[in-house]
Symmetry: C2
Amino acid sequence: MKILSLDEIKSRIDLSKIIAMQEDGFKAFSAGKVDVPPVGYLKQHNPPGSYHIKYGLIENDDVWVVKIAGGPSGLPSSGMMVAISTRDGKPQAILQDNSYLTHLRTAIAGLISAKYLAPKSINAIGVLGTGEQARMQVDILRDWTDCRTIYVWGRNAEKAQKYKADMESKDFEVTIAENASDVAKRCNLIITTTSARQPLLKASDIQPGTHITAMGADAPGKIELDPELIAKADILAVDNKSQCIDHGEICQAYEQKLIADKDLIELGEIIANSALGRTDKNQITIVDLTGVAVQDIQIAKAVIAA
Amino acid sequence: MKILSLDEIKSRIDLSKIIAMQEDGFKAFSAGKVDVPPVGYLKQHNPPGSYHIKYGLIENDDVWVVKIAGGPSGLPSSGMMVAISTRDGKPQAILQDNSYLTHLRTAIAGLISAKYLAPKSINAIGVLGTGEQARMQVDILRDWTDCRTIYVWGRNAEKAQKYKADMESKDFEVTIAENASDVAKRCNLIITTTSARQPLLKASDIQPGTHITAMGADAPGKIELDPELIAKADILAVDNKSQCIDHGEICQAYEQKLIADKDLIELGEIIANSALGRTDKNQITIVDLTGVAVQDIQIAKAVIAA
């Protein structure tokens, strides 16, 4: 059994290979070839905190993967993955990634979303939120777009300053926007990564031709985009239809019947048939990412095989 | 993080301490102090097989434990446990026990059942089944009873012969019985460890003063004891009421309304108040064991702390 530390995992990252495997994973998922049982949850009261257990198996695959992640509230999420051989049932590898692979596969889902849905030419990248994903989502777009201009907004001014400094050290040009609406006025690619519980962007904020990757809402009650904005999208993509309807960014619009099942398309369907992606530069496109176990399976496999 | 191999785990076994911790675990569970979310299941089709993921947390504990076990059908179940710190959410130990700790804690649950429910004097130990638990359940009774007489029955004559030879090498005197009924006629402590789907023992087979530990039925459709026998028990104990009602040995008797909730008592309740155990040498007592995550939590903790 391989036991891989975070450093060993990082040394095994072959980004282009991982991206290709993530695309394959989304395709397999949307083709119904992945068994993804319901996510397990555990709460702790002392100190308060929570965990989730995500696992799944791609049809006929050699391994399946369990991810255990979470921890006390307020601390960075901890996490690990276990890959188990379907040949003998034995653990094949333990990836002590401390949630790094989750962050990376989530950022890659944003990149894949942009690849199929964002306009060809990006004038500026808008970012709501100043945390880990606000950094990784932008950084990973580096090879895909020449745009190095960021407009960022976050609730906490100090964290926004820190974000600006960090991203400027990576050769981005960063402006701190006064509010979310200001970000939307200046950017045609927007990434939302907050834990907001009131919409930050309204339908009227968004310019034609804008793509939005929304990944903050991962539980009922969280919302970053106004339901009217969700309803306005020309293409409304999700990583997992049932999960996004249950607790993703789109769930309130769905509850309010502003959108219906027929308005949703899974990312894996678009990857399998790119004609289903952006076809016009003026379309407004939105992707709702909630995270699917197939992403964990595929990134664990890539790291193990590297 | 500690990573413990099977050999290291075996070298850390302090049986009396583990037994005490198992009793504490059952008590905590029956006192409502253990969060045991629903067990997760995963099936694989190629090769056919299945896994389960059991996890839980004892109120205010320093670690919680996830157990991943299973594998291709026909191969011995593989398994491992992960203990995660509730202080920082990080994995504290990985126990590569290959299901050894599950076998051991299951055998210990049988020992605890006998301790509180079996008659004081055992004339012979009856065993249905010839597998791992048929061995461990008897072996672990060694310090608790002087009885070294076994009557065993199993479907497969060759495996029964192997069982006889193995247990005789451990100083037991073993007779292979012609059928399950014959076992019951000769023994006042019976352990059932088969995967039968038709009852092996009827109410009329059982002598007054007999204790039965039934642990084969762990899924709907499996049954070792006739529902009439279940209904005849003077004390009907279970490790986990809702789980046993759902898919344990007692579930058919419950469905047929031969027994009701009021007839059931949890092992943890008896451990907390031994007056609820056997009070008369002529009572027929039955324990239905289906396995609870608290057993895994407690044995993992004992091994880590050793």
